[in-house]
Point group: C2
């Protein structure tokens, strides 16, 4: 498992998954990331749940409890401002990765 590299990307990933899937619950997000990345990336619950609560507190997410086979799941969904924030953060992250690639692919200095 490729650890220690999620720094700074967790919120963006959460938002983007919610945008794609409409609504998701915490445990589902963890499993989804594991599946999509073929076990290469692992979101820890200790990072996920506080992040969800923070995004909710910022008004980017809403919560709805739903029953599913004697279980109660806590579904998260983007608000309007959450949708805007998602677009912004996804764009920023792509741009950031582009800059990192520029650095990692740069040739030796000229001067």
């Amino acid at each position: 498992m490729n650890k220690k590299l999620l720094h700074g990307t967790l919120n963006t990933i959460i938002l983007k998954l919610l945008k794609d899937n409409g609504e998701m619950y915490g445990y589902e997000i963890v499993q989804h990331v594991k599946t999509l990345t073929a076990d290469q990336l692992k979101i820890t619950e200790g990072a996920l749940y506080p992040a969800l609560h923070k995004l909710e507190g910022e008004g980017l997410l809403t919560v709805e409890y739903k029953r599913y086979q004697n279980r109660v799941r806590k579904y998260y969904r983007l608000t309007e401002s959450g949708t805007k924030e998602t677009q912004s953060q996804v764009a920023d992250l792509f741009e950031f990765m582009r800059q990192i690639q520029t650095l990692l692919e740069s040739k030796p200095k000229l001067g």
Copy 2:
């Protein structure tokens, strides 16, 4: 300036720049990153110098003081293990970014 997104990538960038350029001093690294990314990315000195000291302490870098026009610069260079570590970290970071892109480009779930 794109802030708060460098998390976890600083060491890798330092190592890669040293690998490309043979030897560099701290201030030069800061300027180089600014130039290469057209002022989009800024390494702060408060992050850089402790990182350099840590990498040196781990045996990945060696230091050599050199005089340049009445100034003394502190040049860093990769050790053998530093070179290996660089390859490993650069590969990991590319792989990580690939996984992030997978997540950010994924379509809605099927099930």
